[in-house]
């Protein structure tokens, strides 16, 4: 049986039966039928629940006349993402904020979970950054197709027609490499951050780990920002054919 965090144990105690039955119905045999929910999935569920709770609180306190602190914070974040996508993509970029903002918030909260005792960063498990990267990849491809149509597919063939049989596999590999690079960067940084913090906590429990916790917070913010920024850059490349 793998080591389980408190929340994972709680989820497995409540949902192990139905989850195992669902996995078996999908012809997937869980490695541990008594504990099919891993720490990564449990932490993801916790991040999702936390964000939904914050959004409900925000919606309840929404006010035009007297905006509260929470509303100010979220309006700033939304303004920042919107401004950045306007700079990178150009006009009509606000239609993408609905995807970029939740993606950024999810990654940011998931990264910061690692500094809370008793919790782990879901992004320090490879499946979670891969899931986020697949969402970003699918989103920019779909937007490119939706807005550019056939023109977007032509973009895969390169500028010179007789080179297109060579350019097509190269472009496909380049796009799939983006998926892998988004995943590896986020996973490796968060895993390394967690490890460094853990090692220094076990070596010197007082004082010094605070520096590494600060570093971990910095890395968490920077990696969430870079993930969203790169998604915006890919999105800009995909929808550029429209203009």
């Amino acid at each position: 049986m793998p080591e389980q965090l408190f929340f994972t144990r709680f989820l497995n105690a409540a949902l192990a039966g139905p989850v195992t039955a669902l996995l078996r119905a999908l012809h997937i045999e869980p490695q541990y039928p008594q504990a099919p929910i891993s720490n990564a999935v449990a932490m993801e569920v916790l991040v999702f629940g936390f964000l939904v709770l914050i959004f409900i609180l925000l919606r309840m306190r929404l006010s035009v006349e007297r905006p509260g602190a929470l509303q100010h914070i979220f309006e700033s974040i939304q303004g920042f993402i919107e401004g950045q996508s306007r700079d990178v993509i150009g006009h009509h970029s606000e239609r993408f904020t609905g995807f970029l903002l939740p993606l950024g918030l999810f990654i940011l909260v998931a990264n910061l979970f690692g500094i809370v005792p008793g919790l782990e960063s879901p992004t320090a498990f490879p499946v979670v950054p891969l899931g986020c990267a697949i969402c970003a990849f699918a989103y920019y491809q779909v937007q490119g197709l939706k807005l550019g149509g056939v023109g977007y597919l032509k973009h895969f063939l390169g500028p010179v027609w007789w080179l297109s049989p060579l350019m097509l596999p190269l472009e496909i590999i380049s796009h799939l490499a983006r998926l892998l690079s988004l995943t590896i960067r986020l996973y490796a940084n968060m895993f390394a951050g967690d490890m460094v913090t853990l090692v220094f906590f076990s070596l010197i429990p007082l004082g010094i780990p605070v520096i590494f916790l600060g570093l971990h917070i910095g890395v968490a913010l920077l990696q969430a920002y870079i993930f969203v920024l790169l998604t915006t850059v890919y999105l800009a490349g995909a929808v550029a054919t429209e203009h």
Binding site: Q84, D87, V88, P169, L170, E171, I173, S174, L176, A177, R178, L180, S181, I184, R185, I226, L229, L230, V233
Partner: protein, 80 residues
């Protein structure tokens, strides 16, 4: 826009572009090995599917070339 506001806006734009460039260079460090691995994996998958033994080498070569193309494209785009 007043004459004083113009340089401030230009400075702000430069800073924003610097962040985008930084993200591009961050991605450049990973995209070259990633393209190589992706090409190799596609080749391996094709070998498995078509029962051949040489497509992984072709995939590996295409992956390396794709990595170089992406590298040159990003560098020339940012330096122009």
């Amino acid at each position: 826009m007043t004459p004083n506001e113009q340089p401030a806006k230009e400075q702000d734009d430069k800073e924003k572009n610097a962040w985008v460039e930084m993200a591009n260079y961050f991605q450049l460090a990973v995209v070259f090995p990633a393209a190589t691995v992706v090409g190799w994996l596609i080749g391996l998958a094709l070998d498995h599917w078509l029962h051949t033994t040489w497509l992984y080498i072709l995939g590996l070569i295409l992956g390396i070339v794709a990595g170089f193309v992406e590298l040159i494209r990003t560098v020339t785009k940012n330096s122009s």
